[in-house]
Structures are given as C-alpha cells and as structure tokens.
C-alpha cells in the first residue's frame, strides 16, 4: 500500500493545499498570502530566516494557531483544526523542535498520552504498549515501550516523539528543526526515518536552518521571506546558493566578507593549556594554544567535550589536572568571577538558559557582568550604564526600539548580540563562544562574524566551538577537532574542508596532511 500511495503522488492528487494564508499579529503581518502544495510521498522543505513565517505556518497547520484569512485543504477537504488534538486526529502531526516528552513516564505512556486506551475507565496498559510498539515500528526504532524516557538519548527521544506523532495515523508529518539537538549519527538515522515515511506515502514538511539537509533530503523546497512565498525550488534549482539567495533576497557572494589575514604574533600565546584534563573526560589530556588576535574553532560531534572544555577554561567546571596560562601568566579559573577578572569571557551555548534574563531589558542584560566596574558606592550608576549600553548596542547593530526593550522580545540574532555585548563590555582578552550563531539567521550571522573579526584585528583572541562546519570554515583561522574528549585534529583553515573535519570528528584516522595534532601522549 505504501508504494501504491507514493505512486499516486502524481500531479493532481494533493495531500495538502494552502492558499492565500494570512496571519496578522498586532503591528505585524506574520503571514501575507502564503501558499503551499504537497503531495503524498513527498518531502517538502520549508526554509526562511527567523521571522519569515515558517513557524507560524506550521503552527496553523497543526492547530496551535489559527489564520486570519486564506484556505487550507487536506485531501481535498477543508482543513481548519482548532486544537493540536484535532489536528493530530485529522492526520497532521507536528514533531516539536524542543522535545516535549514527560521524562518520568515510560515510552508507551508518552506515545499514548492524551489518547490512552481504556478498559472500564482505567488505562489499558497492554493496549498502550501495543500502540507504542506499532508506532515505534513505523520508524524502525528498537526502543522498549516500557523504558523510562529519562534514560533515552536525544536521538531515541526524537524517535519517540515521531512515533507519538504517528500513533494518530498521520498523513502529514511536520518536522521543525529536528536535528538541532542530534549528533551526526542520530541525524542520519532521522533522515532514514524521513525517507521511510515518504516511501509510506506520508507528506513530510521539513523545516530546517541547515541547508544541506534541505538539499539532500527534500524533493522540493518552499522559501518564505517576510511572510510571503519567496521561491519554490526543485530539481537542479534546489541548491544552497539558490536557497540563500531566496531567503535573504540577495546573492550569497555579497554576504561573505573577505576573510582577515591571520595575525601571527611571535609573543607568548594568549591562552595556553598544558595537560588539561576536564572532569568529563579525565583520561584525555589537552594541549591548546591560542595566539593573541587569533580565532580558533573547535569542531566535534555533540558530546565530544567541546562545551566542557570551554566551561572548564571559564571556571564553571573544575579541571581535574593541567595548567592554564594567559599571556604567559598562570591562570586558575575557580569560577566565572575569577575568569572575568582575568579577562576571560564565555558566550554560552544556550542563551535562553545560561545567557539572558529574558524578561529584563537590553540595558540590564548588557550591564550584568560589569555592574561592579561602574558602581558609585554601593549603587548602580544608572546614567553611566545607560550611555555605555546605548553605545555598545548601536556599535553591535542591535535592532530594538530602545535599550529598555525586554530581550525576550528580540530576534535570535539580536539576542545573541546582547550576550556578546555583555562580554565585550567586560573587555576580555580571550572570548570563548559556544555555538556563536545557533538560532541566528544568515544575515545576523555574518554581522557577528564580522564583529568578531574586527575585534580580533585589535588583539582579542577567540576560541569558539561549533557544530556547523560552514561556520568553522568561515570564521576559524585554525580549527581544532575533538572526539570523545581527545583532540584529534589541529588544522589550518587553508588545509581544512568539511570532509576532513568530519573524519577527524568521528574518530576516523587523521589523514590530515602536515597538520595532525601535536603531542598527545
């Protein structure tokens, strides 16, 4: 039946049709006459910068939000779900970006959540287990329905989430940034599931910032910009540069700034780590040097120990052993305060959890790390604070109505600029960044790179971790690669390409030319 379904996916039999969809929020038109068509057995990519309207569109399809105008049809019948429940029953499942599972419950309980099979008013556990087993089977996941979600990996949770969506008998499955928390291996497994669903005749809507996923996985892609259809690409037109051009409305070549020359100082390294062992990978001994004015990237899969390394240098985690020095002087980070005092700053990976006070203003957030530097007696010097933040915020190009605007209302790129601004205000010598542009759109990304490059030209050193190979190759003058806590590569940008980094990051033999890592006993 699956093949049959896929076969009938010829022109004409539409699974989903969206026409002239509009959604207005006070003061902004989030969707402005958007159209979309999808057939059974098709993977349709939906791309666009943050704020282009993708999420709003997906939410409307899945019954979380309602449109102000336009028409939607599912299998020829009018589609207007009023609740996520109704959408799921009707066959549209949204797989959430942030996994929404009850961690304390079993896989079966999660999959059956909200539609528990009952017998005489009680949950029929056997039926729930069967329901789960069946749903897990469709995504070919070998997961025990009785396992507690807490004990599952991110990839397994993702599969459970998908199974949960499919348990309602989905005809349309929407993936919203599904790989953002997955390792490379887990992502591959997910792609297999997507293809499997497609072969079963399901229409898959695939939303992602990672353009290579769109080009590899999708049959067609709809590009949204400012709440409108910017382009529909398929076949040979569906390539990276066409996507970027449609997303930002200008050609990619205009976005890429010339890369700064590598400033090589012969002086002592800005940061030097010798025999550094982190608590998470105590067996791995790390030697790292970062020169003044140098931008060094750290590549590696999720869980390779990159975040742990950065947080150890920043003093958030205690090192097990090893010596650190800054500009030749020994440096013992026993907490963020000590690190900040020594001129080290960290822009954390999760800016909502570890970076921002979302309810508070840009002014509060930028000022937070440097309050004592500006205080007048015991008091906050509000006037000085205002002018300092005003200046910093305009230098970074933070787009906001004023510095009193709560940071929770800013876009991802502007939020990240606020966090970076906080740390630049502390005038660091060494800036650590963990995933510097996660959730930041293409345009703002390039701005952030340029800001960092300018500062490095003035002598700041940057050490950043990233899962985005494009970013590593774009920003890093030199790239370290980590695998299971060990450094497996140290590659100059000129010698690096995505394949080499991926090979080193997955623990493959370093076929790196002259650049394999120095000294690991």
């Amino acid at each position: 039946m699956a093949a049959e379904r896929a076969g009938t996916g010829a022109r004409g039999t539409l699974r989903l049709r969206v026409e002239g969809l509009t959604r207005r929020f006070p003061g902004v038109l989030a969707l402005d006459g958007v159209g979309l068509e999808g057939r059974p057995g098709e993977v349709l990519g939906v791309v666009g910068e943050n704020g282009a309207g993708k999420s709003t569109l997906m939410k409307i399809l899945a019954g979380i939000d309602a449109p102000d105008g336009g028409a939607m049809e599912l299998d020829g019948a009018s589609w207007a779900p009023r609740t996520p429940r109704e959408a799921a029953d009707g066959g549209v499942a949204l797989i959430h970006q942030e996994l929404c599972l009850a961690e304390n419950l079993s896989v079966a309980a999660n999959i059956a959540l909200g539609r528990e099979p009952t017998r005489m008013g009680f949950v029929d556990r056997d039926a729930a287990r069967e329901m789960a087993r069946e749903a897990l089977g469709t995504v070919r996941a070998a997961i025990d329905p009785d396992a507690i979600v807490e004990g599952l990996s991110a990839g397994e949770r993702q599969l459970v989430e998908i199974a949960k969506g499919l348990a309602g008998g989905a005809k349309v499955v929407i993936f919203d940034e599904p790989t953002s928390s997955l390792t490379a291996g887990e992502s591959e497994a997910l792609f297999d599931v997507v293809r499997e669903l497609r072969d079963q005749g399901v229409l898959v809507l695939y939303v992602s910032h990672r353009l290579h996923e769109i080009t590899d996985l999708c049959d067609r892609a709809a590009v949204l910009r400012d709440g409108r259809n910017a382009a529909a690409l398929e076949g040979s037109e569906l390539n990276r540069s066409a996507l970027v051009q449609a997303m930002v409305g200008r050609a990619e070549s205009e976005l890429v700034s010339p890369t700064a020359a590598v400033p090589r100082a012969s002086t002592a390294p800005r940061l030097s780590a010798r025999g550094l062992r982190t608590a998470d990978w105590p067996a791995a001994s790390l030697d790292i040097d970062v020169a003044p004015g140098e931008i060094v990237g750290i590549a590696g899969l999720v869980g390779a120990g990159r975040t742990e390394l950065l947080e150890t240098i920043f003093g958030l985690r205690a090192a097990v052993a090893g010596d650190l020095s800054l500009d030749g002087a020994p440096f013992i980070p026993d907490g963020p305060r000590a690190a900040i005092a020594s001129g080290v700053a960290l822009v954390p990976e999760d800016r909502k959890l570890h970076g921002l006070l979302l309810e508070e203003s840009i002014r509060w957030n930028v000022a937070l790390a440097t309050l004592t530097a500006r205080r007048r007696g015991p008091f906050v010097d509000t006037a000085a604070e205002r002018s300092v933040v005003e200046e910093r915020s305009s230098a970074l190009g933070v787009r906001a109505s004023s510095i009193e605007q709560p940071t929770g209302t800013l876009s991802g790129g502007n939020q990240q600029k606020v966090v970076i601004g906080r740390w630049l205000e502390a005038r660091p010598r060494l800036l650590l960044l963990d995933e510097p542009t996660r959730g930041v759109d293409v345009g703002a990304r390039e701005e952030i790179y340029r800001i960092l490059e300018e500062l490095c030209a003035e002598g700041l050193s940057v050490l950043f971790a990233s899962s985005d190979l494009e970013e590593l190759l774009r920003l890093g003058q030199r790239i370290l690669v980590m695998h299971e806590g060990e450094l497996t590569g140290n590659v100059a940008r000129a010698d690096a390409d995505e394949r080499l980094l991926m090979t080193l990051a997955t623990g493959g033999d370093a076929l790196a030319p002259t650049t394999s890592l120095e000294a690991n006993p």
């Binding site: 006070p26 910068e49 006070l357 015991p378 906050v380 787009r399």
Partner: protein, 332 residues
C-alpha cells in the same frame, strides 16, 4: 506587567478599601482607629519586607512566624536574666541573622529546597521557643523599651504617630535602596529571574541567596522584638503563628512574583497596609470575625487573577512586538 503597574494597582485597592470602610463607618477615620491601623501595618510591613527578599530570589521563607515567636520569647528571658535592654535586642537580632544564614547555607551548600528548609525552621523554632520558656507566658515591664512599639514621639493634630512607623520608614527606605538601586539588589533580581544566567555572568549567586535569607530572618527577629514589646505578655506557643503567611501575602499582594525576580518594597508596604485595612474593616463593618481569613484569602485570590489576566494581555502584546522585531530583522 511591570512592577510599577502592580504597585499602582495595589495603591488603588488601598484607596478603595479606605473609602469604602470610611463611608460605611465614619469611626474608621477616628484618630484612635487610624493610629491602630498604622501601627499594625508597620509591624507586619517589616515582616513583609523580609519575606520579599526570599521571594525575589524565587524562594520562600516559611519560618518567619516561628522566628517572630522565638525572638519574642528570648527577648523577655534575656531581660529577666538582667541583660541590658539594648544588648538583649541586639542579641535577638543577631540570633535572627544567624538563623537566616543557616537557611541560606542549607539552600546553597546542601542544595535543599527553600520550602523544605524553612518549613523545618517553622517547626523547630516553635519547639525551641516553647521548650526554653517551659510554655510559660512571659512579660516585659520595661516601659521605656516598650515605647519603641507602643509609644508615639509626636502628634499631628489629634493623631499620635505610632513609633514603629519610623522603624518601618527606616527599614523600608534602606530595603528599597538596597533592592532597587544597589549592585547587590540588581544581582538579587537577576538571579531571581534566571540563576543560571546570573551565575554565568559572574554574579555571586550563592552568596546573594544567603544574604536574602539573612535579611528575611533578621527582619522577622526585629518584628518579633516589636510584637513582644507591643503586647507585653508573650505566649511562646502562639506568638507569631501564621505571621509568615501574612508576610508572604503582603509581599505577593504588593507585586512580588513567586517566580522570583520581581518585587517592590513600596508595594510590599502597601500590601501589608491593605491586609491590615481589610482586617480593620471586618471589625468596623461588623462582619463576623470568623470570616477574616476567608476575606483576606478572597482578596488575595482576586489580586492574583487580576495580575495573571494583565500578564496574559501583556504577553500577547510582547509576542506581537517580537514578531515585529523579527520582520524588521529580515527586511533590513
């Protein structure tokens, strides 16, 4: 919903209760009655300010009433034992601060939840107070000292300004400067919003949490001293029972969010005043006093509903602003 809006709201409620009660029973505006309301407000206001500090960190202090009870028990015992009054008062305040430090350390070092720590405090200090006093009623005869709570340094017309008002003023101004203007206060509010982010930004989170609980218990001890002096005869088993709930209610009514990170000292004082006014109008309007708790609870509930409603509206407006910010981003 910003804090200023909440303070305005609670001020409006205060005016409404005053006008309604005064209209229904003109005796409300008599000097005697007003003096009484103001004096009580001052005492409960001091406790409320203490509660606000723990609430602002996202925590809670359930031990306030028992710290009041313990302080009010120890003070007369010290005085009876011949300790000079100023030293006795100082000693009680120090004990309060010490208890707060223990709460703070249990929360930050041992990692216990504030609710659990201070619930244990509530039980333990009550037990200690009853044991050391043998459950006997204690008296304070030092009239000079008692005037701190019962006296009146001067009058405005026929209105004798109660002495505790001045203590409340001092405590309130200091607390408002601390919370609203100082670096420490900014740190407290920041860690109440997001302790992780504050820690990553170099805020000494643990130390500030200890400070908050020290202030809470210190002010509870000060309140205990004043209540003891006010009443003059203290029953260790009953003294201060439920006062933590009055204090928390005043703080919440005054705009402190139990989620942490939000609070205004002026709001808390107004909140304490509304609580006392409600109590007063129950008496003056001849409402059966059995209904006291029910009425206070009802007003608190209505306040919370109003707050949440305004919050939702503000949240919607914010989502729209965010969407607008994003669309500006992509167009520029």
């Amino acid at each position: 919903m910003n804090v200023r809006g909440k303070v305005l709201g609670i001020f409006g409620l205060l005016v409404a209760v005053v006008l309604f009660t005064g209209f229904m029973n003109p005796r409300f505006f008599s000097a005697d009655n007003l003096e009484n309301v103001v004096q009580r407000t001052s005492l409960y206001g001091i406790l409320g300010i203490g509660a606000a500090f723990s609430i602002v960190t996202g925590g809670i202090d359930l031990s306030i009433g028992s710290v009041v009870g313990l302080s009010a028990t120890i003070l007369p015992m010290l005085i009876t034992a011949g300790v000079p009054a100023p030293a006795a008062v100082l000693g009680v305040l120090l004990i309060g601060a010490l208890l707060g430090a223990i709460h703070g350390l249990l929360i930050t070092r041992v990692g216990l939840q504030p609710f659990v720590v201070t619930l244990c405090g509530l039980l333990v200090y009550r037990g200690i107070a009853r044991r050391i006093s043998g459950d006997q009623t204690l008296g304070i005869d030092d009239e000079a000292l008692r005037s701190l709570a019962t006296g009146s340094p001067f009058s405005i017309g026929s209105f004798d300004v109660p002495a505790p008002v001045f203590l409340l003023l001092i405590v309130g101004v200091l607390a408002a400067l601390f919370l609203g203007r100082s670096v420490w206060g900014r740190w407290l509010l920041a860690l109440g919003r997001n302790p992780e982010a504050a820690h990553y930004a170099g805020v000494p989170v643990d130390r500030m949490i200890v400070v908050a609980y020290v202030l809470s218990s210190l002010l509870a001890a000060l309140g205990g001293v004043l209540f003891a002096l006010d009443i003059g005869s203290i029953q260790p088993a009953a003294m201060g029972n439920f006062y933590e709930l009055y204090a928390i209610a005043a703080a919440v009514l005054g705009g402190c969010s139990l989620r942490g990170g939000e609070g205004s000292i002026l709001g808390v004082v107004l909140g304490a005043a509304v609580m006392r006014l409600l109590y007063n109008s129950i008496v003056l309007l001849g409402i059966p006093s059995q209904l006291e708790f029910a009425i206070v609870g009802g007003v608190l509930l209505l306040g919370a509903i109003a707050d949440e409603t305004v919050r939702k509206i503000a949240g919607k407006r914010r989502a729209a602003e965010r969407a607008r910010a994003r669309s500006q981003d992509t167009t520029s």
